[in-house]
């Protein structure tokens, strides 16, 4: 654990010195500031930022993490030739990446919000948005590590992460709608809840819209979950499922990495 912490701090120091990552934080800050300039309505800003988060955070987190995983493969080998456990090393690298990306995302949103000072009416909403962005970062870092461990070929690993992003941000909702349309004569509440749990992006969206109770953005899955479980239980379910999305792919990669030929 001590070595994991050492590695995490060095990795974090390296990551926070990458200028490209600060461009990510600046972009988030720029977008949130732009939304505030375009409309004074905080709720609209919050929802616009949510849409941006759902699209950009998984893409940046997944793509950067998987590229970083492959680009530092030789350094991983060098470190593993030292007295370090494979599990310790992988955990430190994953945690450092997730922490750096979350910090930069949060810094970006916070920088945009400082334009409004501390007179925000939707403080809770913005905190839920930050939590949603954190879970998305963790989930897609985990998926990226799983792809990195599963595929030796960088092109395959990067393609797998991009395919996951495309599926979760665009195709998963289409799949749910198709299921609902095809089986419209049957009671579909429980299958819809189950299908929702299978997408971290859907869950991250629900986390914010259930707390804000925004009918327009609730969508089919949000409406079903709210009716079936209520806002509180729905939020709890979303958080639990997002914790699993954050940990399960990484745990799988961790188990595989311990016996992998490098």
């Amino acid at each position: 654990m001590k070595k994991s912490l050492e590695l995490l701090l060095y990795e974090l120091a390296h990551l926070l010195r990458i200028k490209g990552l600060w461009f990510y934080a600046l972009s988030v800050a720029g977008v949130s500031a732009a939304f505030f300039f375009l409309t004074g309505d905080e709720r609209k800003v919050l929802l616009s930022l949510l849409s941006f988060t759902l699209l950009a955070v998984p893409l940046v987190s997944g793509f950067f993490s998987v590229s970083y995983f492959y680009d530092t493969k030789e350094f991983t080998e060098f470190l593993l030739a030292q007295p370090v456990g494979r599990g310790e090393l992988l955990f430190a690298r994953w945690a450092a990446l997730a922490l750096a990306l979350t910090l930069l995302y949060a810094a970006g949103v916070a920088a945009g919000l400082t334009l409004k000072g501390f007179s925000l009416q939707e403080k809770a909403g913005f905190l839920w948005l930050a939590l949603s962005g954190t879970f998305l970062t963790l989930s897609f870092c985990s998926l990226a590590f799983l792809a990195g461990v599963l595929f030796d070929d960088k092109a395959k690993g990067v393609s797998a992460v991009l395919a996951a992003w495309l599926y979760f941000t665009l195709l998963h909702d289409a799949l749910i709608l198709t299921v609902v349309y095809l089986f419209k004569d049957y009671p579909l509440e429980k299958p819809v809840v189950l299908l929702t749990l299978l997408s971290p992006v859907d869950l991250a969206r629900l986390l914010v819209v259930l707390r804000l109770d925004v009918a327009a953005l609730m969508g089919l899955t949000g409406t079903v979950i709210k009716e079936l479980l209520g806002s509180f239980k729905g939020t709890l379910l979303s958080i639990s499922a997002l914790v699993l999305w954050s940990l399960v792919p990484f745990t799988l990669s961790w188990l595989l990495f311990r016996k992998k030929d490098l």
Binding site: L7, Y10, H14, E74, E77, F78, L80, Q82, P83, L262
Partner: protein, 235 residues
């Protein structure tokens, strides 16, 4: 005293046998050069010794310890072929990181002087030339006491002077009883350093002999010519 023992090592990747029962041993104060043409299994062999690749059969022991776990890897000083360090860290930070991971104090001052690294220790890796990065690579390998050093193409991208300094360092450590496993494509360089040569062809050891022994057997005056004649005999 025997430091490293490799016994009947076999490894396949996707059904292709890369190592076909490789065996050899290495004593303290001995330098063994692992040579062979491309795709002969040198990298896989080194990775097996480092514990990065798990063999299908056979075993590797270092000072009697099997090739797994942290205690095993603390016995190895490793210099990879290309310095793979994160570009935004400095050599000083890397030295400290490796020191903390190994839980060993580095003996770095003399090495920093030897390789003239003083002006670069606090500069980011990305600002260093290929040769300086390779010197940092050597610094990280030799700064920590270990009974076995594994050097993969150690003189690549070093200028002749630094290359000579590195060779002198290797000989000094060898005299102090350290064992060395070296791979290199530059056979004449190895010839002056190595006590023994293991020659790998298609995953098999076709020769495990002293440098003088190889020359005597083939009737050649240089190791390069001797190995070439061996390869031609097999073709």
């Amino acid at each position: 005293m025997e430091v490293l023992r490799v016994e009947n090592l076999k490894k396949s990747f996707a059904g292709k046998e890369v190592l076909k029962g490789v065996s050899f041993s290495l004593k303290a104060g001995e330098l063994l050069a692992v040579l062979g043409p491309n795709a002969s299994g040198k990298t896989t062999l080194i990775k097996c010794v480092l514990g990065l690749v798990l063999p299908d059969e056979g075993r590797v022991t270092l000072m009697g310890k099997p090739a797994e776990g942290k205690a095993y890897r603390k016995l190895i000083g490793y210099m990879p072929q290309t310095p793979p360090f994160p570009e935004n860290l400095t050599p000083e930070e890397l030295l400290l990181l490796v020191s903390r991971l190994r839980e060993q104090e580095p003996n770095a001052e003399e090495l920093v002087r030897l390789f003239k690294l003083e002006p670069f220790m606090r500069q980011k890796i990305k600002t260093l030339s290929g040769g300086t990065r390779q010197k940092v690579n050597a610094l990280l390998a030799f700064a920590f006491d270990a009974p076995l050093f594994i050097l993969d193409e150690p003189t690549v991208s070093l200028d002749p002077l630094s290359s000579a300094r590195l060779k002198r360092l290797v000989l000094k450590e060898k005299e102090e009883g350290k064992a060395f496993l070296i791979t290199s494509h530059v056979v004449p360089e190895v010839e002056h350093l190595a006590d023994r040569v293991v020659f790998l062809v298609e995953g098999k050891v076709v020769l495990d002999e002293t440098v003088e022994g190889v020359k005597r057997k083939t009737g050649k005056t240089s190791l390069e010519e001797a190995l070439l004649s061996l390869l031609e005999e097999r073709a």
